[in-house]
């Protein structure tokens, strides 16, 4: 597996890395099946499953009727029989009908049977706005799921990480919600090695080291966070950038270690502010990092309002400017010495 010297390296967009991971894992493990709406001949509305039907056939590439509760429930049933279903929900706004099945069954069969049964399944969906899509196509669902015990929630932010985290999610023996950053699907390419190596599902990634402030984010907002760090660097501010990647279980350690060094923290999320995952991280800092903090923990976030339709969505999604604004507030209260 790990003989990466022998494996092909390709320059891929994030959606292509997802497709590669699916191809690669379906080839490696015949228990992996994919299911969802329009994932067969059509290859998925975002093309994540292109080519799978031809390569693995109708049995393992399952076009489902238009019924998201059924998709989740079917994945549960498949997973209890030792298969490894990877279900696609077309947009995260249509994940809500899966919530009952996920929280009342997928996360519970193992626990309620004390290990006799299990649900090694993945539910993938594009997440977040920024592509001028119709109503209900731009929602951010990560916190709704991350609050649920027994789940893993993963939000990749780059092609290489999407590849490695999706492999990990498929191989994980428990249910995983895998939320892909829609607006990064084709935003940039990255070299991805098809080496079959999974990334860890319990670790935040420190992408960039810095001593002045810790910037924490995940998913699509990582893109803006990276750009913010670049701009800050030009001003002589060294930001440490952390990609949370796996929101649940949360690797607070890595964030605490960073904040212990920098004393400042800004968290950037796209979802509505109240009760978002940024609040969980800030609460962790308020409990375990209070004494290292020089300044308030600022959250940059979507507003507590309905995601606007396309024409106004930019007002909702926080970009680089809003991140920088909060960073400046932090340095105003606690200037660099």
């Amino acid at each position: 597996m790990a003989e990466s010297g022998k494996t092909a390296t390709k320059n891929l967009a994030l959606i292509e890395a997802i497709n590669l991971a699916l191809h690669s894992e379906m080839g490696r493990d015949e228990d992996v099946v994919v299911l969802g709406e329009d994932i067969g001949k059509n290859g998925g509305v975002f093309r994540a499953t292109v080519g799978l039907l031809d390569a693995y056939g109708e049995g393992r590439v399952i076009d489902t009727p238009l019924a998201e509760t059924l998709v989740a429930a079917m994945a549960i049933g498949l997973s209890t029989q030792g298969l490894r279903p990877v279900a696609e929900i077309q947009f995260s706004g249509f994940l809500y009908p899966c919530v009952d099945q996920v929280v009342n069954h997928a996360t519970r069969y193992r626990n309620r049977t004390r290990g006799r049964m299990s649900c090694p399944l993945v539910i993938r969906a594009p997440n977040g706005g920024g592509i001028h899509a119709p109503e209900h196509h731009s929602e951010s669902l990560e916190t709704t799921f991350a609050h649920m015990p027994g789940l893993r929630v993963v939000c990749p932010s780059s092609p290489a990480r999407a590849y490695g985290l999706l492999l990990a999610a498929i191989r994980d023996p428990d249910p995983v919600i895998f939320l892909e950053p829609t607006r990064c699907y084709r935003l940039f390419k990255q070299s991805v090695e098809d080496n079959g190596e999974a990334l860890p599902l319990d670790t935040c990634f420190v992408e960039r080291e810095g001593s002045d402030i810790t910037l924490v984010s995940w998913g699509a907002m990582m893109h803006d966070t990276r750009r913010a760090a670049d701009l800050l660097a030009e001003e002589g501010i060294a930001a440490e950038v952390i990609d949370v990647a796996t929101l649940k279980p949360l690797d607070l350690e890595t964030i605490l270690t960073s904040v212990a060094k920098t004393g400042r923290c800004v968290i950037a999320q796209e979802s509505a502010r109240a009760g978002g995952w940024g609040s969980e991280i800030a609460a962790g800092l308020a409990e375990h990092g209070l004494l290292s903090l020089f300044a308030p923990v600022m959250r940059v976030s979507g507003y507590d309002t309905i995601m606007p339709l396309a024409r106004m969505e930019k007002l909702f999604i926080p970009g680089v400017e809003r991140i920088l604004k909060e960073v400046r507030k932090v340095f105003e209260i606690a200037p660099k010495n």
């Binding site: 709406e37 329009d38 067969g40 001949k41 059509n42 290859g43 509305v45 076009d63 009727p65 238009l66 019924a67 998201e68 509760t69 059924l70 706004g93 249509f94 009908p97 001028h132 899509a133 119709p134 109503e135 209900h136 196509h137 502010r273 507003y303 507590d304 309002t305 309905i306 606007p308 339709l309 396309a310 024409r311 106004m312 969505e313 930019k314 007002l315 909702f316 400017e321 809003r322």
Partner: protein, 371 residues
């Protein structure tokens, strides 16, 4: 399971599903028409509405292709269903559309501009003008099938208040697999609610063909699960669709309860402008379906029977083009809302704890014009 015939077995229920057609694809009547349809002006009105809708639809697609509109869901080839709904409902009935029944919306007073605003990403496309029947209609519904059970509450309210109003809720063949739809159909008859469930069966749900959507031989028979009448109609036959809907509406209005109508049509266009149907369906199928076009057959009938001249056609096309042009212009001229709008109708009045967010958005200034 064959019908058993010994003393152990007793038949307890039986059901039949009928299909109605009055006008065949060549524009020939298949039976004696209902009285209303025998008046030439009735059919001319349906025809005009279908044509105006098609002119609009084509324009909307081209606006999208030229970057002036967001993703758009066309109704090409399905105009008869919308037109029939528009003519069958009374002004104070309530219409709950899916998203391909623009003809019905136009008939009920939704300006074409509003449909463009909606797909252009502007919430004001769901406001609809006061004083029109559409003002108490529901907006388009994107989460498939989820609007269908709202009809239960709306119709219950009518019944509770003794109002003789009817709800017509439409959705696609795909939607007929959703729990929300199925729960509504399962329970509407419990209260004998005045609802018509219209399943707009255009044979495809994006790439999923009808026969992979459910094992049921017809979608009309989903009505049986709720103990209500279910029937099929040729949804490209405006006469039959209007007639079948009118009868279902009349039953509902008379307290006879809900019905389900499966209108069979075909989605001639891609699913939306974001879709490429060539990936999953053969071109021959689409070509063949053009032969069933609802506009073609209505025109053939009207012309053959001497109720429609070439001059009528020219005038209609010119009027429709002018109307659409004006509406497109009105759409394009619509300034974006002020930023505060994203908070102003969130609640009836904004909770004090959110006021700072609204102020932040205002302070950040209006967005650039890149929609």
């Amino acid at each position: 399971m064959n019908a058993p015939n010994d003393t152990a077995h007793r038949k307890v229920a039986s059901f039949e599903i009928f299909h109605t057609q009055y006008l065949d694809p060549e524009g020939r009547p298949t039976a004696e028409w209902p009285v209303w349809a025998q008046k030439p002006e009735s059919l001319r009105e349906l025809y005009r509405l279908m044509v105006r809708t098609r002119v609009f639809d084509k324009k909307a697609v081209s606006l999208q292709r030229t970057g002036q509109l967001g993703t758009y869901a066309a109704c090409l080839g399905q105009e008869a269903i919308g037109a029939a709904i528009g003519h069958a409902l009374a002004a104070d009935d309530v219409f709950m559309p899916a998203y391909r029944e623009y003809a019905a919306q136009f008939a009920r007073g939704v300006p074409m501009k509003d449909v463009l605003l909606y797909w252009g990403g502007d919430e004001r496309g769901m406001v609809y003008p006061e004083g029109t029947p559409a003002y108490h209609d529901f907006p388009l519904s994107v989460p498939i099938g989820t609007h269908v059970p709202h009809s239960i509450g709306v119709a219950y309210a009518f019944k509770l208040r003794g109002e003789k109003r009817v709800v017509l809720v439409s959705c696609g063949d795909g939607a007929s697999s959703k729990g929300d739809f199925l729960e509504a159909v399962s329970s509407a008859k419990v209260w004998d609610l005045p609802i018509v469930f219209l399943v707009n069966n255009n044979q495809w749900a994006i790439s999923l063909p009808r026969q992979k959507q459910t094992g049921a031989q017809t979608l009309a028979q989903k009505a049986i699960a709720g103990g209500m009448p279910g029937e099929q109609v040729d949804g490209n036959d405006a006469v039959a669709t209007r007639e079948v809907l009118s009868q279902a509406i009349a039953r509902a209005r008379n307290g006879e309860g809900p019905s389900l109508v499966e209108a069979i049509t075909y989605r001639l266009h891609d699913h939306t402008t974001a879709d490429d149907a060539r990936r999953y369906r053969p071109d021959e199928e689409v070509q063949a379906a053009w032969g069933n076009c609802p506009i073609k057959r209505t025109k053939a009938y009207l012309q053959r029977s001497g109720h429609w001249s070439d001059a009528d056609e020219q005038r209609l096309l010119a009027e429709a083009a002018a109307e659409v042009e004006a509406q497109v212009q009105a759409f394009l001229d619509t300034e974006p809302e002020p930023p505060a709008a994203i908070f102003d109708t969130l609640y009836e009045s904004l909770p004090k704890s959110l006021v700072w967010q609204r102020e932040e958005v205002i302070a950040a200034g209006p967005i650039g014009e890149d929609h």
